[in-house]
């Protein structure tokens, strides 16, 4: 045993200067604890290398046979209230009746006695090996090491500063729940549980990231979900071998179907109600500790134009809005390229009065129109990026520079035609309407702009065909990306271009939830139904 310890000690010393630390605790070699407290203490101290946030608290247990004990925890990850009330106070001061203790000692050991009878802590687990003990300490628990036992207890004392449940900045709604996920995975799963109180809501946990050991939960509704998708999700997650998972984006990029496509095949949301709705349609959710974004798979193109408010408001207006989003999607992708194709290649297609005013706007502009479109498009993307990254107080300056200097002044100076400014602004606004695929659209817009600049409508058409074929080929976890438009499904189309009323949305999306397809019984509300 000493050989192993010294070999670890040596390897640690050896690696001190090198950049890459070999992780020995992921291997199968288990380093057991020793019965001697000082040895255990020095083992731990060696591993933590005198890190200032690791606290070693030695004390003497306040009852027979007054053994020495050690608490190890990381400052900031624990709640000192919980430690003192559930560990220190009962072990040091609580007087237990001797009779009871004697009786107990005949049956169990001191450590078992402490675990069973002495500490009023909510979660106490026994740990035999050093790596397990360290994992426990690193995730915010407190290690309790008792002299004379090669086994330690890990007690739940997690308590760190966390953001409360807040309204998310993305996915804002006018009507609908305001709560959003937080950075803490426990809160997030609880938020979901509160939406779906069904024992079939399953969570499966795994730890990903060799160094970060991030908790990742897969959530799904047993009986609704397609088991194949769950299995596929699990196998893809298990394949991940990375040193750290800092955000769901890491996982998204490591498990997506088409890593080279500009279209996202994994969705994400920050809101429990959206996640609940997606699970109820048979999707799988992936929670990651430390981020409020939860992934949903499979993700289809149509989800970009669906909003939770479509379902919270009455179907008629929701349908109109849905159609408007389709129009916005079309405008955001096609407007600049169509404009260039029309005015540079096919001016005969523009109505005469419009052509004259367009030509008037272009008169005296030094750049060809495609250059204008490209430059304005790039400037807009820069402005948007600046808007996100800059410190809040500078915001006004940027918007003044953006709107006045780049917009108005450039037009007045005759550098950019005002038609182009209108066009870029309209395109940008339309892009925000379908914000979940805004990045894909921005790239697509650029691609189509190049197509139409080179070959007019012919090029635009070829570019569109290329994109269309690509979309048809794309799959997300086995589900074709354009479902339910292609392959078509008449029943599912009730929730694509229109949002049919709930009383006619009787089934779940077919390809996703192949089990338990019926969502509800026919329930068109009418006074006759309630009379019985």
């Amino acid at each position: 045993m000493m050989r192993i310890i010294t070999s670890i000690w040596n390897s640690l010393k050896k690696n001190k200067g090198s950049k890459i630390n070999v992780m020995n605790n992921t291997g199968k070699t288990v380093i057991p604890l020793t019965p001697s407290l000082p040895t255990n203490l020095s083992l731990l101290k060696e591993r933590f290398q005198d890190s200032p946030d690791v606290v070693f608290r030695e004390f003497t247990v306040g009852f027979e046979p007054y053994p020495k004990a050690l608490l190890v925890y990381i400052n900031g990850l624990i709640s000192s209230d919980v430690i003192s009330t559930t560990i220190l106070k009962p072990l040091m001061f609580e007087s237990l009746s001797e009779q009871y203790m004697l009786k107990k000692f005949q049956q169990i050991s001191l450590l078992d006695f402490i675990q069973e009878c002495a500490v009023p802590n909510s979660k106490v687990t026994k740990v035999n090996s050093l790596p397990d003990l360290i994992d426990g300490i690193l995730s915010g628990n407190t290690a309790f090491v008792l002299d004379g036992f090669p086994t330690a207890l890990v007690m739940d004392t997690k308590g760190w500063e966390a953001r409360g449940v807040d309204e998310p900045d993305t996915e804002a709604v006018v009507r609908g729940p305001r709560e959003g996920f937080t950075e803490s995975i426990g809160v997030n799963t609880a938020l979901l549980r509160r939406k779906i109180k069904d024992e079939n809501l399953r969570f499966e946990s795994l730890n990903l990231g060799r160094r970060s050991k991030t908790a990742v939960y897969i959530a799904y509704l047993q009986g609704v979900v397609n088991e194949k998708i769950v299995a596929e999700t699990k196998s893809r997650l298990q394949r991940i071998d990375i040193d750290a998972i800092l955000e769901t984006g890491y996982i998204e990029q490591l498990i997506e179907d088409a890593p080279t496509s500009i279209f996202p095949t994994v969705g994400n949301t920050e809101k429990p109600d959206i996640l609940a709705a997606k699970l109820l349609e048979g999707r799988v959710g992936i929670f990651v500790d430390g981020t409020p974004f939860v992934l949903t798979v499979p993700h289809l193109l149509i989800e970009a134009v669906q909003s939770p408010e479509d379902y919270y408001s009455r179907p008629y207006y929701a349908t109109v809005i849905r159609l408007l989003r389709f129009i916005a999607l079309g405008l955001a992708t096609l407007l600049p390229s169509t404009y260039i194709a029309l005015q540079s290649f096919h001016p005969e297609m523009i109505p005469t009065p419009l052509l004259i005013s367009m030509a008037g706007a272009r008169e005296g502009i030094p750049f060809p129109s495609y250059m204008e479109a490209l430059v304005m498009g790039v400037i807009f993307e820069i402005l948007r990026e600046a808007g996100i990254r800059m410190p809040r107080p500078i915001g006004q300056a940027v918007s003044i520079v953006g709107a006045l200097v780049l917009g108005q002044a450039a037009v007045e100076a005759g550098l950019i035609s005002n038609a182009m400014v209108i066009l870029v602004a309209l395109t940008a606004i339309c892009g925000f309407v379908v914000s979940s695929i805004a990045d894909a659209i921005a790239l697509l817009r650029l691609f189509l702009l190049l197509c139409s600049t080179s070959f007019g409508f012919f090029g635009l058409l070829m570019g569109l065909l290329f994109v269309y074929i690509h979309l048809l080929k794309l799959r997300s976890f086995g589900i074709p990306y354009l479902t339910p438009i292609a392959p078509g499904n008449l029943n599912d189309l009730k929730d694509v271009f229109i949002r049919a009323p709930f009383w006619s949305l009787l089934t779940r999306p077919q390809l996703l939830g192949q089990k338990n397809v019926v969502r509800q019984k026919p329930a068109k509300p009418s006074p006759e139904n309630s009379r019985e």
Binding site: P347, L355, M358, G360, A361, G456
Partner: protein, 382 residues
């Protein structure tokens, strides 16, 4: 690996296309001379003289103070051996290549028209830029005078002319003809084209304005005479081109006072008939109108008065048609009535034999006119 190479190649191709100046067929709007009207005249030494109106988009920009005073169009003329030659010669003067896709107005000068338009009209049909739906019209005098005239209501004279032709229906006393239709009639074996006539007249405010009224008729491609406005309406009746217009008939009680009837619906059919080897025609016209105005005091709401008015209307329309038929048969001796077309459609076999001597036959054929007249509404007062 292959994919990446392909992608890189595609990207390279695109960027090359983007940054080489000679992008195929790409032209910026501000490099085009947008033509709004073109006039064709006979030049010296048998050359073709073209006059064009080129829109100056700059002057039509909103808000520019100086732009208001600036002339909205530039007028240039050019001569050449052929039309295409003349068209290309414009570039010597304008620098910009002329762009004809938004030209809706083609004016033929009288001199050119009388000598024959077939040689000059070919380019307009052959070139891909010209619109088949551009209007063709003829003027008494030089076409360049029409192109030179300024317009007041519409900023661009060409658009003013286009408006006149589009709204001919309110009066129905001139013939709007598309380039395509003109060409069809030119090349047809039985038909002769008739074009609307455009003139410039001085108005009360001392400015001159266009007037689209009457028509000129052709023997094949040569202009041979003019129709006055009422004869023109006779032509429109027969060709089923009446949209609206006013028919004035005498008041039932007072011959000197008039009643105006507004045409709201009109239709016509030419029915040829072979009887004992001789062909005769019946032109059936249906007209429905509303009572628009009454100059006398008689109550017109009574059924028998209405019947009298309907009879008057019938006579008036019949008169308009018969005048034209008579003139065409006796004076011009050419078939602009479409009788040949109707015969060809109904009796294709007989027509093959008839068409060669149609010129001699036409003045003698019997033409009957039948008008069904109806008045439906009488307006807001009795």
């Amino acid at each position: 690996m292959k994919k990446t190479k392909l992608l890189a190649l595609l990207l390279l191709l695109f960027s090359v296309a983007l940054f080489t100046t000679g992008c195929w067929n790409r032209k910026e709007l501000d490099k085009l001379g947008i033509v709004s009207a073109i006039g064709i005249d006979k030049g010296e030494d048998g050359k073709v003289k073209l006059t064009v109106q080129i829109i100056k988009p700059e002057s039509l920009k909103k808000g520019g103070g100086e732009g208001e005073k600036e002339k909205p169009v530039r007028i240039l003329s050019s001569t050449g051996d052929t039309v295409l030659d003349a068209v290309r010669n414009f570039v010597e003067k304008s620098g910009r290549k002329l762009f004809h896709s938004h030209n809706y107005v083609i004016v033929l000068g009288e001199k050119m028209a009388r000598e024959g338009v077939l040689p000059v009209i070919d380019w307009f049909n052959r070139d891909h830029e010209m619109r088949p739906l551009a209007w063709v019209m003829v003027t008494k005098g030089e076409a360049s005078d029409i192109i030179l005239t300024k317009s007041e209501l519409e900023k661009i004279p060409g658009q003013q002319i286009e408006m006149l032709l589009q709204n001919y229906g309110a009066v129905s006393k001139a013939v709007p003809v598309h380039l395509l239709e003109f060409y069809e009639k030119l090349t047809s074996e039985s038909d002769h084209p008739v074009l609307g006539r455009i003139q410039v007249k001085e108005q009360i405010d001392k400015t001159s304005a266009f007037e689209f009224k009457g028509a000129g008729f052709f023997r094949k491609d040569k202009l041979i005479g003019w129709l006055d406005p009422l004869e023109t309406r006779g032509y429109l009746w027969i060709w089923n081109k009446i949209k609206s217009g006013i028919i004035t008939v005498p008041c039932p009680e007072n011959e000197n006072k008039l009643v105006s009837l507004e045409i709201i619906k009109a239709g016509s059919k030419i029915k040829p008939e072979f009887k004992e080897g001789k062909i005769s025609y019946r032109i059936e016209v249906k007209v429905q109108s509303n009572l628009g105005e009454n100059m006398c005091s008689k109550n017109l709401a009574k059924p028998d008065t209405i019947a009298t008015l309907e009879e008057e209307q019938r006579k008036a329309v019949e008169q308009e048609i018969k005048t034209l038929v008579k003139q065409a048969q006796e004076e011009f001796k050419i078939d602009i009535l479409g009788l040949g077309v109707a015969t060809m459609r109904k009796y294709p076999e007989e027509w093959k034999e008839l068409k060669d001597r149609w010129e001699e036959e036409f003045p003698q054929v019997e033409v009957e006119v039948e008008v069904a007249s109806k008045i439906s509404l009488i307006g807001m007062v009795e």
